[in-house]
């Protein structure tokens, strides 16, 4: 078995071919280990998905339930449900809940009782009480949630 390569006169004989096997094996193993490393590193850095909690109760920053009677009429409070920041507004005794995270660049929106709308302090995005964008740069509406009051706790569904 002899092959003449066009560009140089180096001949690949059976002996020289087999003598390359250790090098090829080493290269393959190093590449696969690096590939495995890369995959593992990426996996290590991506958060595990079990953080999606089943909780549906509105909690404050210390993890205590926010009671409905702590939100006065015509005011809003931001709390956390599961892993999502939620804005709850008491509008004449009716509770409205929506995502508190501005769809533009992720700032926390505020209920503005003087103008009756929801405003983002970062880039001036405004939303109405149904979460619809009525001004500014946000590309999407705020997600609205159904609210129930159970034993004074604010429960979202």
């Amino acid at each position: 078995l002899e092959i003449n390569l066009q560009n140089n006169n180096e001949k690949i004989t059976r002996r020289s071919f087999f003598s390359k096997i250790p090098e090829i094996a080493l290269l393959t193993s190093v590449l696969s280990i690096l590939g495995g490393f890369f995959w593992t590193i990426l996996g290590f850095m991506i958060p595990s998905s079990k953080s999606a909690m089943a909780s549906t109760t509105l909690l404050d920053i210390d993890g205590n339930s926010i009671q409905a009677d702590k939100i006065p009429n015509n005011s809003g409070t931001v709390g956390i449900v599961g892993s999502k920041n939620i804005l709850v507004i008491n509008r004449e005794g009716k509770f409205i809940a929506m995502s508190a995270v501005c769809t533009h660049l992720g700032c926390i929106v505020k209920w503005n009782k003087d103008t009756g709308d929801i405003r983002c302090p970062c880039h001036g995005g405004t939303y109405d009480l149904s979460g619809k964008v009525i001004g500014g740069p946000p590309p999407a509406n705020l997600k609205l949630y159904d609210v129930k009051i159970v034993d004074g706790n604010i429960i979202l569904s």
Partner: protein
């Protein structure tokens, strides 16, 4: 005794070869444009940036001894450093101010290389390395900004990382990778910390070595055409060119000491204050990034969404490929009026956008008249109708 050590070392690893190589570099003759006139001080900025990196390594190493990288403890540990640790305030202020000065000097250095056409053949590769160094320095600044975990740090990071998420396809994945969770939190501070204190210093040190080696191989640039032959070391020596040491080292030392003085003055008289501890439920009014990101911050207000981010990145790619785009043989700034004007325009636009970014969403008073500068930087007079 010295002779004995010299001999001993030489018998073991050819110490004399290292010594003569070092001396050759130390006394290397420099072209006239680097050594003569006040303009020669323009050629010290790179070294100043490097000296600041060295200082950052020292202050950073010391801050590491007390800093705690977690959402629960970071803020308190920085407070502890500032108020309880001996000279803690000095270490933190110097770290923060020298970081700003480092970005500043890297920009100055790049501007000098740009205007003197020093990125042209045969130094394209080193410009390339330099632009990567610039991006590493900005990543340093961005990751370090979060670590004090106050309101400003937290929300600037939210807005800065969210801007990346508007990119199509890779945006959401990149955001998740950066945050390590559903939002900026414990996981984020952990990875920003690890990147800031381990990965980036290693990469930057390596890149600086490559940058200096390439610079030493190609020699300092002179303002001649790329198709003219540059003077060799022998030719420079023959015409009595001044050596790197002590001549240029002296100038570099002067600028480094001045910079240190400025950093110390700023640290004492204009210290960085801590805002309230980060609160994921309350976004403060008028958050904005550090000055070197202000122009980008303002630009993406006019061009929102993925397009703005893509355009900003295209500017980066353009900078990276500059030596391959601008291939004219002239280096002398007087003979490249178009490129020089474009460069000045680019700087002016950046400063203009940066100033708009700094004053937007604020009330300012000029000549007794109060204006509200809106988000896009347009002033509205407000003192007539508002009487609070």
């Amino acid at each position: 005794m010295l002779k004995f050590i010299d001999n001993w070392l030489n018998e073991r690893f050819r110490w004399n070869d290292f010594k003569s190589a070092f001396k050759k570099q130390l006394y290397k003759p420099l072209p006239k444009n680097i050594t003569d006139g006040a303009g020669s001080y323009l050629h010290t900025f790179g070294t100043v940036a490097m000296a600041l990196f060295g200082l950052q390594a020292i202050t950073g190493f010391l801050l590491l001894m007390y800093y705690k990288p977690s959402a629960k403890e970071a803020y308190e540990s920085v407070q502890y450093i500032m108020y309880d640790v001996n000279f803690g305030w000095l270490m933190r202020q110097m770290h923060a101010w020298c970081a700003n000065l480092m970005v500043f000097f890297v920009i100055l250095h790049m501007a000098k290389v740009f205007f003197y056409g020093a990125y042209k053949k045969p130094r394209e590769l080193n410009w390339f390395v330099g632009v990567i160094i610039f991006s590493i320095v900005l990543t340093f600044a961005f990751t370090g900004y979060l670590l004090p975990w106050d309101q400003l740090a937290y929300w600037a990071t939210i807005v800065g990382t969210k801007a990346i998420a508007t990119l199509p396809l890779i945006g959401d994945f990149t955001l998740k990778l950066l945050w390590g969770g559903e939002t900026v939190g414990d996981a984020t501070i952990g990875r920003f910390f690890a990147i800031h204190v381990f990965l980036l210093p290693a990469i930057l040190a390596l890149l600086i070595i490559i940058h200096l080696t390439l610079m030493r191989i190609s020699g300092n640039s002179s303002p001649i055409r790329t198709d003219e032959k540059e003077k060799t070391v022998e030719e420079l020596k023959a015409e009595g060119a001044l050596p790197f040491y002590p001549h240029h080292v002296m100038k570099e030392s002067i600028v480094i000491y001045l910079t240190l003085g400025i950093a110390l003055t700023l640290s004492v008289f204009y210290p960085f204050t801590l805002q309230e501890k980060a609160n994921p439920f309350v976004t403060p009014e008028g958050i904005r990034p550090d000055w070197y990101f202000l122009s980008i911050f303002q630009f993406i207000k006019y061009v929102p969404g993925a397009l703005g981010i893509v355009l900003v990145n295209l500017v980066g790619v353009f900078l990276l490929l500059l030596p391959f785009i601008d291939r004219s043989p002239e280096r002398d700034p007087k003979k490249r009026p178009l490129v020089v004007r474009l460069g000045i325009a680019f700087i002016v636009i950046n400063i203009f956008l940066g100033v708009l970014g700094a004053i937007s969403e604020r009330n300012i008073t000029i000549f007794g008249k109060t204006y509200h500068i809106d988000i896009k930087g347009i002033p509205h007079r407000i003192d007539k109708d508002i009487t609070k």
